[in-house]
């Protein structure tokens, strides 16, 4: 039904999401993008305060938003298998979302083709749905702010 490279599946009655993506990259380069702090910082658009890419390691990121607020994220790495898989937790430090568990699987599809499967398990269906709606809600907020900006400048 689709030839999109990134696919999100959110089964209706389960507290999980599966995100899959195929990359025109060899699997070791795809994995490196998760392993190397400097590269993570680039594509995640974040400051990497700590990233211990190993079993029982942990990580912590700080990401500024367009309004200049800083958001902290952290987690623990439960297992780390080079070019194959990472199991880790993920927590947003604003306290609005419970900790989630992430299973990342890296697969070689060819010499220059690989696939990432990100299986995220949430505390509840409600928490999952709230997270799924976040980008949608942010989009509405940004549109709303823009309307207010236009209105306030037109009043002056």
């Amino acid at each position: 039904m689709t030839d999109q490279k990134t696919i999100v599946t959110a089964p209706e009655h389960r507290q999980e999401i599966v995100i899959t993506r195929t990359f025109d990259l060899p699997v070791d380069l795809l994995f490196m993008a998760y392993e190397d702090a400097e590269i993570v910082a680039q594509w995640m658009n974040t400051k990497v305060l700590k990233l211990e890419s190993k079993q029982h390691g942990s990580y912590r990121f700080e990401t500024p938003d367009p309004m200049g607020n800083v958001h902290g994220f952290n987690g623990t790495i439960h297992s780390f298998e080079k070019n194959a898989s990472i199991v880790r937790t993920f927590e947003m430090e604003n306290g609005e979302f419970p900790v989630q568990l992430e299973y990342l699987t890296f697969e070689k599809l060819g010499d220059d083709k690989s696939k990432l499967t990100m299986h995220i398990v949430f505390q509840s269906i409600e928490a999952r749905d709230r997270l799924l709606k976040l980008p949608f809600a942010m989009g509405i907020n940004m549109a709303h702010n823009r309307i207010q900006e236009i209105q306030s400048t037109s009043k002056q």
Binding site: M1, Q4, K5, T6, I7, V8, A10, E12, I19, R21, F23, D24, L25, P26, L29, L30, M32, A33, I39, Q42, W43, M44, N45, L116, L132, K133, L134, P135, F136, M138, G139
Partner: protein, 109 residues
């Protein structure tokens, strides 16, 4: 709220997804739709009924025939729910891919 759940249940079935796919290019009668499946015609009718009930399809009287076509507004409503989330990840992954493709081409020291 119940209706929303029905829509997702309707979409969970592969036969119903195929029906929706068939109707993306043209409106069709129940008979024409059924001719695309091995299953008995009453089974296809049941699927059409479910899809119509949750407003994914609209049935329209056209002379002696009933034509089924997609309700695009409803389809869009469902797509919109996950689309911003998917797009956020798609953009991130595009960036990752781009960075690593250039990394690949950098001469090794």
């Amino acid at each position: 709220m119940n209706l929303r759940r029905d829509v997702f249940q309707a979409l969970a079935d592969p036969t119903r997804r195929t029906i929706l796919l068939l109707l993306t290019t043209q409106a069709m009668t129940a008979g024409a739709i059924a001719s695309n499946f091995e299953t008995a015609r009453p089974t296809v009718s049941k699927h059409l009924h479910i899809l119509t009930e949750c407003e994914l399809l609209q049935a329209e009287q056209n002379g002696r025939e009933i034509l089924y076509h997609l309700n695009l507004d409803k389809m869009k409503e469902i797509a919109d729910y996950l689309e911003p989330f998917r797009r956020m990840w798609d953009e991130r992954f595009n960036k990752l891919e781009n960075i690593m493709q250039h990394y690949h081409h950098k001469p090794k020291p």
